[in-house]
């Protein structure tokens, strides 16, 4: 497979970036998208050029490190996968592929295709936890009965890997799906009730402070989420937030 790649190159956070064209050949359908970029980088290194910087870690769809906006969609054209799970068989010989970083004011570019997603960490730090005594006499979580439906929904929300595809896909660069998944995974469980009011207020406040846009319910985030996090979580967060605001 011979391909034309249009890749965003940016020296550092302060420099202006631009799209640069690369020709690549000998790509097989069974290669993953990241392996294709590895081939490109080997070529660049052999030619004495600087390789393209991109985030990656586990390469099995778990860690949420790999990002990349591919042909205008986060993680490429396939559904329910991360970029490392995208295979080159999804493309055709002679294709032109646009590869850009996830774009949001709250996700500044570090270099080339790597962005700083620590805004998500700060949202999580603001309230995405429960306070538990871990001094040796921790109560077994299974000792508290949990409604099966709630347990399933909490688990589904907790599968969010924080990759940022929701922000990248949203026309408003909104982080509502991520934040709502983190709020929901606690709001649905008895252990999360004690700090529910403070949690949702603090997390939404932090989300707003980071400069993400507002949700306009386009549903793009749900479609592009590699873990299929549902929009129901956003509705739940809206309810939790309104409830918490009334309670103060």
């Amino acid at each position: 497979m011979n391909l034309t790649l249009k890749i965003w190159r940016q020296k550092d956070a302060k420099s202006q970036g631009k799209m640069v064209d690369y020709q690549i050949s000998g790509i097989e359908g069974d290669m993953s998208f990241l392996e294709m970029l590895d081939v490109l980088n080997e070529d660049l290194i052999n030619k004495g050029e600087e390789p393209v910087v991109f985030d990656h870690d586990c390469r099995e769809g778990i860690c949420g490190s790999c990002s990349l906006q591919i042909n205008g969609e986060p993680h490429g054209p396939d559904r329910l996968i991360t970029t490392c799970q995208l295979h080159m068989r999804k493309f055709n010989d002679g294709d032109t592929i646009y590869i850009e970083p996830f774009r949001a004011k709250a996700f500044p570019v570090v270099k080339d295709l790597m962005v700083d997603r620590s805004a998500f960490d700060r949202i999580q730090h603001a309230g995405g936890y429960i306070s538990v005594n871990t001094s040796g006499n921790t109560i077994d979580a299974n000792a508290i009965p949990v409604n099966k439906e709630n347990a399933d929904d909490a688990f589904a929300a907790a599968t969010c890997i924080g990759c940022g595809a929701c922000v990248a896909a949203c026309k408003n660069a909104s982080a509502m799906l991520f934040t709502s998944a983190k709020v929901s995974q606690y709001a649905l469980l008895p252990q999360g009730q004690v700090e529910a009011t403070e949690r949702v207020l603090a997390m939404v406040n932090q989300m707003d402070e980071e400069g993400f846009g507002n949700c306009t319910n386009t549903g793009a985030c749900e479609i592009e989420c590699p873990k299929g996090i549902s929009l129901e979580n956003i509705a739940r967060m809206n309810r939790e937030y309104l409830k918490a605001s009334v309670k103060g």
Partner: protein
Amino acid sequence: MGGLIKSSIARKVAMALSGLFLVFFLLQHFTINFTSIFSAETFNELSHFMGTNPLVQFVLQPVLIFGVIFHFVMGFILEIKNKNARAVKYAKYNGGANASWMSRNMIYSGLVVLAFLGLHFYDFWVPEMVHKYVEFAPEDPSRYYHELLEKFVSPVRTGLYVLSFVFLALHLWHGFASSFQSVGFNNKYSVGATKFAKAFAIAIPLGFIIIAVVLHLNHNH
């Protein structure tokens, strides 16, 4: 409270509630207008009531005007904030792959509806206010139908109304159903509620189109 007003969720809920209020008003407006195509008398009676009832004139009308202004001002504020949230645009952005055109272009369909409101106020509301509160003209309960008919003589104006209702339908198609999600309503009844909202988004603007076309044809025959 200050935090609540600035919060993205509170603003989103405020957009949804003002939108739902306007949807309710639209239904009421449509019901009265619809009588005009089969009974001029009924239309005159209802219009006379709406035009002279103090509760409608001095309480509901200001609330409605506030609702309209609030909805579009908040819409602009959110649009500006959302545009700023992505300072560098994508070289390639395939928005159609994961979201409907209607949901991605609410600001444009909304702007067309806003422009239409300008025309609509110029056609009906401003002359009505001048008639009642500037000229203090004596009330004639049978004047409304003829005044209405006069406005739809021009095929251009009728066409503009029809086009505006198409954009109103596009705006409602996303906006009405989306308001349920914004106020936190997403459960086993959501599928039915969304179907109802989509049917409303088609039926009411289509009804307004029928009214405009029938009035235009009535006058020319």
